[in-house]
Symmetry: C2
DNA sequence: TATTGTTATACTCTATAACTATA
DNA sequence: TATAGTTATAGAGTATAACAATA
């Protein structure tokens, strides 16, 4: 089911001309700037994919790239005001679409379905942390 | 969150060399053959996208195309035995991945998250039915 | 040498427009 | 005329391999 829901999310984001991967990148920039390698880990894509993804967002003025002063190999990515604004709009469209779909469920079930999605954030964060910093097997 | 979960689903499916859209198509063929236009509606993609998507699956022997005897314009798509087998394997990989992620939630919450996803099927089916056959506005 | 990021290249998914075949 | 499907074409996301710059 997750795959069909994902397609609906993709369609909702298309309303603001954002692809699903672009949206994912923006959400990771919402709270803090990120260097490309970090973003690749966060998004679970290759580094060249991050370059390509960011290219489009930079061209549209949604993201800004800055060379790190501490380590000139690094490129920090930050949301512009326009990027922050579009992200808010995208979030709203996405929520609206999911709520519209959930509304077909009887009574309380719709809210349960929506809340269920929210709880996945915690799981994904924990899973990502474990993936990036795998538990050392005891010898 | 749905978008990050979708990426994890994509990675799980990549283990059996299926893309997320290909998997979606296979799931719609599981119960019955479908003509291309119907698939386009089900998948919420254009008809040319269905052609391209099916091309790859036919080339791999997972799906078979048959001209309809009743209306020679129509092309029915059916799962081959290989297709049915790979779909089962894909389902297993997907479930395993989602369960692994949900396992990072405390106790019962993981099961609630998984069950929440299941309930979306009903909502999506109802939403699709309404989308294809919109309620006539009373004049 | 190792790490960060980009470029080169190729494949898939997607859409729109134009086309063929059939109804 | 209308519908089912494909072909042509173009743009985006993805990966791997090779490269440049910096540490």
């Amino acid at each position: 089911m997750i795959t069909r829901l994902a397609r609906q999310a993709e369609l909702a984001l298309a309303e603001v001309e954002l692809s699903l991967p672009q949206y994912r990148l923006l959400t990771f920039l919402e709270l803090q700037g990120r260097m490309a390698s970090k973003l690749a880990d966060d998004l679970a894509v290759s580094r060249p994919s991050v370059t390509a993804l960011a290219d489009g967002l930079v061209a549209r003025g949604l993201v800004e790239r800055r060379s790190s002063l501490l380590d000139r190999r690094r490129v920090e990515h930050v949301l512009t005001d326009a990027g922050r604004g579009l992200l808010a709009e995208a979030d709203a469209r996405l929520d609206r679409r999911l709520e519209a779909i959930a509304s077909y469920l009887d009574g309380r079930d719709g809210q349960v379905a929506l809340d269920g999605l929210t709880s996945w954030k915690e799981a994904l964060d924990a899973h990502r942390a474990a993936r990036l910093r795998p538990v050392k097997e005891p010898t």
